[in-house]
Every structure is written in C-alpha cells, then in structure tokens.
C-alpha cells in the first residue's frame, strides 16, 4: 500500500500517539487484531473494544507483535478473502495425536512405526497414520515450519489418498505458500471424492481468485454458498463480482511474470510501458531479495474513480496490493517517474509477502517497499531524530 501524496506532506506537522497492535493468527487462517495480548500455557488473552477476551492456546498458530507502531499487523498482500476451514482428517484418535507430538516435538520414531503398520492397509492403521501426520503437521505449522507440515500431509496421503481432511489441509498450505496451481491438485481430487464439499468449493474459489480466474472463483464460491451458506464466502462473491463487473470492459496483456488488465479506453502505450517497467522491477527484486514468486502476478490499472469504487480503500491510499496490484492511472499516457515508483512499491509487497509467507509485519513490508521505490529518509529524518525519547517509548512487546 502506498500513501497518497497529501499524507506524505503532512508528515512534518504530525504528532500522534502510537499504540502497538498485535495480531493473533489462528490455525484456521483467521486473525484477530487486538492489544495487550498475553499468553499462558492454556490461553491467549487480549483486549478488544468489547473488553477482555480469552481463547484456547491450542487454536493459536502464532502472535504477530505490532512492533514499531500503529500499522495493522497484517497487510493486504497477505490477507485472504476467505479463511481456511478447519477439518479434522480422522476424529477420535486423540491418543495417537498425543503420542505423535509430545514434549514440544514430533516423535519421528513413533510416526515411522505407524507408517510401517499402515503398509498392512487395515482401516485402523491408516486412520492412525493419518491422525499422527495431521497432528505433526499442525504442530509444525504452529512452529512456522510450513514445508515440514506439507511434507507430513503428503506422507499421510500416500496411505490415505482419498481422505478429504488431509487433501483440504494440504491445499490450504499450498494456498498460503502462494502455490495456487499446486493447490488445485488436492482440491480437484477432493472434489472427485466428495463432490458436495462446501470447503472444497470455498478453497477452489480462493485458488482461482488468486490466479486471476475471477469467473471460476465466482462459480466456486457460489457453489460453496449453495452447499453451506457462509457470510464470509458471500462477501468474497460480492467482491469478486465487483471486480468482474469493472473488468469486463478491460483489455488484457501478459508477460512471463504478469497478467495485466486495464481500462479499454486507456492509452495502449501505457499498458505496454507498465508491463515493461514491471518486468524490469521483477528482475531487480528477484536479484536483490533472492526470491522468485512462483505464480504470475495480477495487475489492474484503474481510473481513479474505479479504483475508489472497487477497492473501497481510504482516501489516503494511493495504490493497493491485496494479492492483485491495483494501480490508479487516470490521465496518464506513459509511465511517469511517479507511476514507476508506485509500480516498484506495490510489486515489492508481492515479493516480501510471498517470501515471508505473509508473516512480515507491516512496518517491515512498508519500509522495504519504500526503500525499493527509491525513497530515503532525508526529508523526514530531522523530525524523527528529534523524537528519540518519544519513539523509544513505543514499547515493543516480547
């Protein structure tokens, strides 16, 4: 996200209080923004406008501390339109789960024994190995080790290839890793096994939306709504339909790393220039951050009014990256230096969000994006330097 110019100009005049906000990220993908988050072995407690609330520690994947100040702890690029469903692959095997993960570690020897037992192919041995790998995956996910969690789901699926819970949990992790095309593999398999799964449709919509296949995303989310009404999915459908209505008159362009849509009346040279600039930025970011996004990045060029209508972003937002780069370009015929900076800024969010698997705090995302677009602190430094006592009092939690 990039500040509009008016906000930047206000900087030197600004003195505001800044309280750190934290984000509690749940294992099902949902997140809760809160303040004064504390935790013990059993519970996570936090303050909201509704007062103090408490949730079980077992459903919390991690707590992202607000660190430097008043940014919300998540950023659009990492936000999902819908949350991941929580699906237990084999309920009733809590004893196996306790043996698979204990003393804050995965018991690899126990899992190896279950793998060996499952070769016999009995229903019970297969259920046990699926439960154990699911428990190990969820534990590792809580530790931030998504690759290892994915490996456990893939291992479990060798023994239980038609287990919907395993397939959906694997798809969720693929989606979180921005491996949207890969996620469609387990989802299509899940569709064949259980055609009426609302969760499968919800996740397929998510994967399609993220790869810019809006029609298919809408179809899947509507299917999910028919199977099991869900306000979250309904909101996702509404947003996708707004996108679709706006983009129907748009033209498309494509390069190796980008899928571009732009208003049909816009100057053709502008679209070509944007793609050229983005490809160059892509190569620079790839080299500097030592990372290559696995999927093409969706970019939409809007008129100012369409940008405001579609994104519903506050007035001070100059451009937006909510998984798609949304750039207002009204009145431009070519890539101006200002537009070039906006493109680099928003593309950096895609790289940072994906490289950090969506975990980078917003202050870091915005700092890197500004630095990559070429912004430096000189204009603001004098004011910042005069406030060390004040700024150091922004207590950084644990």
């Amino acid at each position: 996200m990039r500040l509009a110019t008016s906000a930047t100009a206000a900087f030197l005049l600004a003195v505001s209080s800044c309280a750190a906000a934290d984000t509690i990220v749940l294992k099902n993908g949902r997140s809760i923004e809160a303040s004064n988050v504390t935790e013990d072995a059993a519970h996570v407690t936090y303050q909201t406008s509704a007062g103090e609330l408490s949730i079980p520690r077992s459903i919390v994947a991690r707590i992202d501390r607000g660190d430097f100040g008043p940014f919300p702890a998540s950023h659009g690029a990492a936000d999902a339109l819908v949350s991941a469903p929580q699906v237990q692959p084999v309920p009733g095997y809590e004893d196996v789960e306790r043996l698979a993960v204990h003393d804050k570690a995965v018991d690899s020897a126990y899992l190896a024994r279950l793998d060996s037992d499952a070769l016999a192919g009995t229903a019970v041995s297969i259920a046990r190995v699926a439960a154990a790998h699911h428990a190990a995956a969820q534990f590792l996910l809580g530790q931030g080790d998504t690759d290892a969690a994915i490996a456990h789901y893939r291992r479990a699926l060798i023994f239980a290839p038609d287990n919907i819970g395993l397939l959906l949990n694997l798809a969720v992790l693929d989606i979180r890793e921005n491996q949207f095309t890969a996620a469609l593999g387990p989802l299509e398999h899940a569709r064949r096994v259980a055609p009426d799964s609302a969760d499968t449709a919800k996740l397929m919509g998510w994967a399609y939306y993220s790869t810019n296949k809006i029609d298919q995303a809408i179809d899947e989310w509507k299917r999910a709504e028919r199977l099991r009404p869900d306000p979250e999915v309904q909101r996702a459908v509404e947003k996708a339909e707004r996108d679709k209505a706006e983009e129907e008159s748009y033209r498309e362009g494509e390069t190796a790393h980008f899928a571009l849509k732009y208003y049909g009346g816009a100057a053709p040279g502008l679209a070509r220039g944007v793609l050229r600039a983005l490809e160059e930025d892509f190569r620079n970011l790839e080299a500097q951050l030592d990372y290559t996004p696995p999927e093409p990045i969706s970019v939409i060029l809007y008129t100012e009014q369409a940008f405001a209508d579609i994104t519903r972003a506050p007035g001070w937002v100059g451009a937006l990256n909510d998984g798609r780069l949304r750039i207002p370009v009204q009145g431009l015929n070519d890539v101006t230096p200002e537009l070039a900076r906006v493109l680099m800024h928003e593309l950096t969010h895609s790289f940072v969000g994906q490289k950090s698997r969506g975990h980078a705090p917003v202050w870091l995302q915005e700092g890197i994006a500004q630095w990559m677009e070429g912004r430096r602190s000189n204009a603001a430094a004098a004011a910042l330097g005069a406030w060390p006592r004040r700024c150091l009092s922004w207590k950084v939690p644990g």
């Binding site: 930047t8 501390r65 430097f68 100040g69 980078a360 705090p361 630095w371 602190s377 430094a381």
Partner: protein
C-alpha cells in the same frame, strides 16, 4: 486500516528509517535473510534475533542513531 494521515505518515517514515538502518549495516542481504527467517520463525522478534542478532528495542535505538548520523547536522 483506520489510521489518520498524520499517524500513517509517521509510521511510514519510521518503517523506512528502520529498513534503511538495517541495510546500512548489513546490506540488502540482511533484509533477504530476515524475510527468510520471518517465514519460519514463531515471531518477528525471534526472526530478528536469528537473522540479525538484534531485538526490536535495539533496532529502534540503532535506527535513531542511524538517522542522527546520516541526516541530522
């Protein structure tokens, strides 16, 4: 996001300053390493410790010192 323009501007300025100070110390490679660690660490604090051997308080102080050194005459 419900930030006032002024609050947002300060937050953005601080975020840039912090990143600048990290890069001035260890180059963009430090940012790349930090992002890799953030991807897998349980918290940003743990990632800062693993990747840069620092913590948020020290980073803030380092940022203030960097700004004074580089920009305040």
């Amino acid at each position: 996001m419900s930030l006032s323009d002024a609050t947002a501007a300060i937050a953005y300025a601080w975020s840039l300053a912090a990143v600048e100070s990290i890069i001035s110390t260890g180059g963009v490679g430090d940012i790349s390493r930090l992002l890799d660690r953030i991807a897998t660490a349980p918290s940003t604090a743990a990632a800062l410790d693993d990747a840069l051997r620092t913590n948020c308080d020290d980073l803030l102080q380092q940022t203030v010192a960097y700004l004074k050194r580089e920009y305040v005459r």
